[in-house]
């Protein structure tokens, strides 16, 4: 079981840590250690081993010295990826001592939340009920992982944009196929005169549409796969995060191809059918 304080704001003072350090050493107390986030280290030009002063007061009152023992990468949070992660991790007693006001003994033993790992995660419901009965006023919230609502909503938004793009692409594709069919109007007429049936010519159009759609879909997937690194690099640089924004997975590639192929075939068939249903002489412009 571990305990942590809820989000807490501290003020970092790096200008003159010597006074606090001297005071700390004078009373024989070792300087407590902290970890700082990579963002904070870079933003404030800190280094491992450096002594910094931390205070819970915006003006720096009651600041205490801490030695930076290491740097950590904060777990990427999709709901806060646009915010700079200027964070530090303290040992709980150090944090409580830093934030408690003189005379507030109760606060020095108060935490905002307690993380609990159950032997069997399926017992979470029963555990919440039991704890609620034993300790009224305690709120039990199950930690969610991997199903962040922000992710799901952003995904829904992107799917909606994809649908709109697909409708536009289909209109474009249909227009191209109509033009292409129109260009081959006389050839289609000649083939009909030579004895080829409508079905045979439509089959040819179907295969042609399939080839064009397959080539387009594969090109699209390859382009997305080739550029995903650049897109991720840009957003990771822009937001200073390790979150992955774009990933072309086999499932997405398969979905893309599975949507593109029938659309291409249908566009080819539709365009050809509008032409082939006309009389042969009309096709030959006679």
């Amino acid at each position: 079981m571990s305990a942590r304080l809820r989000v807490l704001f501290l003020v970092l003072l790096v200008a003159h840590p010597a006074a606090g350090l001297a005071a700390s050493e004078a009373v024989g107390q070792p300087v407590a250690e902290i970890l700082v986030s990579r963002g904070l280290l870079q933003e404030r030009g800190l280094s491992v081993g450096q002594i910094v002063m931390l205070s819970a007061d915006a003006r720096g009152a009651g600041a205490r010295p801490f030695r930076i023992a290491g740097v950590y990468e904060p777990t990427p949070d999709p709901s806060r990826f646009t915010a700079k992660r200027l964070e530090a991790r303290l040992h709980l007693p150090d944090l409580l001592a830093l934030t408690a006001e003189p005379g507030e003994a109760g606060v020095a033993d108060a935490v905002g939340a307690i993380n609990v790992a159950l032997e069997d995660p399926s017992d979470a419901g029963a555990f919440a009920r039991e704890l609620g009965a034993r300790a009224p006023g305690v709120s039990v919230v199950r930690a969610a992982a991997g199903d962040d609502e922000h992710f799901m909503i952003i995904e829904r938004f992107h799917v909606a944009i994809s649908v709109v793009t697909m409708i536009g692409s289909t209109a474009f594709l249909l227009a191209l196929m109509v033009i292409r069919a129109d260009e081959r109007r006389e050839i289609a007429g000649l083939l009909r005169l030579l004895g080829l049936r409508r079905r045979r010519i439509l089959l040819q159009a179907l295969l042609e549409g399939l080839c064009i759609a397959a080539a387009g879909a594969v090109f699209g997937v390859l382009l997305a796969a080739a550029t995903q690194g650049a897109v991720n690099a840009f957003f990771q640089w822009r937001y200073d995060t390790t979150l992955v924004f774009l990933r072309v997975t086999p499932a997405i590639a398969a979905r893309c191809v599975a949507l593109a192929l029938p659309l291409g075939v249908m566009a080819g068939l539709l365009a050809s059918w509008t032409l082939l249903r006309r009389p042969v002489l009309d096709l030959l412009r006679r």
Binding site: F9, L10, V11, A56, D57, A58, R59, A61, S79, F81, T82, A83, K84, E101, E104, G106, V107, A110, G132, P136, G137, S139, E149, H150, I153, R156, F157, A160, I161, V164, T165, I167, G168, S169, A171, F172, L174, A175, L176, V178, I179, D182, E183, F235, R238, Y239, T274
Partner: protein, 394 residues
């Protein structure tokens, strides 16, 4: 026959191609229009929210945005000092907290609590009952609740709310139902006085404020008020609404701005490609016709105008259809994004502005001109005699 009429007949001659072209431009145009609305939608909507409170300056302890940094210490003294400035009309300290409230079925519910003074401007809007008073009814401080909390817990003026997060449980009396400007959909919120706040959060530090809301004197202006605060209290940080929005634009809201930029670029390119392809193929199929028109005395300028008119009809027709289509699509996309947790229910991602419409039209005019460029070059450079000869042989 004018170039526009000529272009209209040219499109009418091939209706399937024209309709598909118009449909394609309308769809990508709608996407472009939406992305232009998205690029500034959050900022415009957030400005409306901030301005609806009646306060044009926010004062915090550090550079962090309100609620995201340390609280202002000695808040009472700071408030009094700022109230003494002639540039300021009102200064109201505000505190934020989260507490557990006992529900009807004896469970608990998380409620966001705002502590403020009774002398207010627009931190919330009264919907039913009475506003907060300084007095207490039988030791129960006043509380106003939002509609979500009132509906789900069947609260009305006179109801009692019992906090489960204090020991012993502290009771408040509901005086009214209000609407908070920043309340999220489905979020339970309550407002109490600053004294009530200290009772709801006994372990919270005394005499602190997460935020000081400031209204400048009418006629003085926000900038003068901000300057006066910075001069009087250089240890505090004062932000005008414009400064808050500028920070949000570069940080919290930047993702959607960038997404909208990328998608608007793709949509513009797509529209351009579509119209260029249609016009180029159309010209290629009509080379003989163009050469015959030139031989009949049509000038290069006239041919150019005909093609420009055809491009304008395709892009213009699709672009006009894109506006209602885009507004409809924006409603759908907005409703998806507004499902994000913790977002103020009055915040919108897609907001119509005349600026977005002007930009949309500007992009379309540019697309029409660029799309017509290559076909125009093809037609203008056409060797008349050779083309006619080739056409007659084939």
């Amino acid at each position: 026959m004018s170039p526009l009429q000529f272009a209209g007949r040219s499109l009418y001659r091939q209706p399937a191609r024209a309709i598909l072209g118009l449909t394609g431009v309308a769809v990508v145009g709608a996407l472009l229009f939406d992305m232009l609305m998205l690029s500034r939608g959050l900022i415009v909507s957030f400005r409306d929210l901030l301005e609806s409170t009646g306060f044009d300056v926010r004062v915090t302890a550090t550079e962090a945005l309100p609620g995201l940094g340390p609280a202002v210490a000695d808040a009472a003294a700071a408030t009094d000092e700022l109230r003494g400035l002639p540039e300021l009309a009102a200064v109201v300290p505000v505190r934020f907290g989260g507490a557990a409230v006992e529900t009807r079925d004896k469970k608990t519910r998380q409620v966001a609590i705002i502590g403020s003074e009774t002398r207010r401007r627009g931190e919330w809007r009264l919907v039913e009952g009475a506003d907060l008073g300084d007095g207490t009814d039988g030791g129960r401080p006043d509380m106003v609740v939002n509609r979500t909390l009132a509906r789900e817990e069947a609260l009305a003026p006179g109801s009692i709310v019992r906090l489960a997060s204090t020991l012993p449980g502290r009771e408040f009396r509901v005086t009214g139902v209000v609407e908070f400007p920043f309340e999220a959909t489905g979020e339970s919120m309550a407002g109490v006085t600053l004294r009530g706040f200290t009772l709801a959060f006994p372990t919270a530090r005394r005499d602190e404020a997460d935020l000081l809301l400031v209204a400048s004197q009418p006629g003085v202006g926000t900038d003068a008020a901000v300057a006066a605060i910075r001069h009087a209290r250089p240890d505090l940080h004062a932000f005008s609404i414009d400064e808050v929005l500028e920070r949000l634009r570069h940080a919290e809201f930047s993702y959607f701005r960038q997404v909208s930029f990328v998608l608007a670029t793709i949509a513009s390119f797509f529209a351009l490609l579509l119209v260029t392809t249609l016009l180029t193929v159309s010209v290629n199929q009509r080379l003989g016709e163009v050469a015959a028109l030139r031989a009949l005395g049509f000038s290069r300028r006239r041919i150019t105008l005909d093609l420009l008119a055809e491009s304008a009809l395709l892009v213009g027709g699709g672009g006009i259809a894109a506006i209602p289509l885009g507004l409809l699509l924006a409603r759908g996309l907005d409703s998806i994004l507004r499902q994000m947790p913790d977002l103020p229910s009055r915040l919108h991602f897609f907001v119509f502005e005349p600026r977005a419409l002007a930009l949309h039209l500007g992009f379309l005019v540019l697309a029409a001109l660029i799309a017509a460029a290559y076909p125009v070059i093809l037609a203008a450079r056409l060797p008349i005699a050779a083309t006619l000869r080739r056409e007659s042989i084939s």
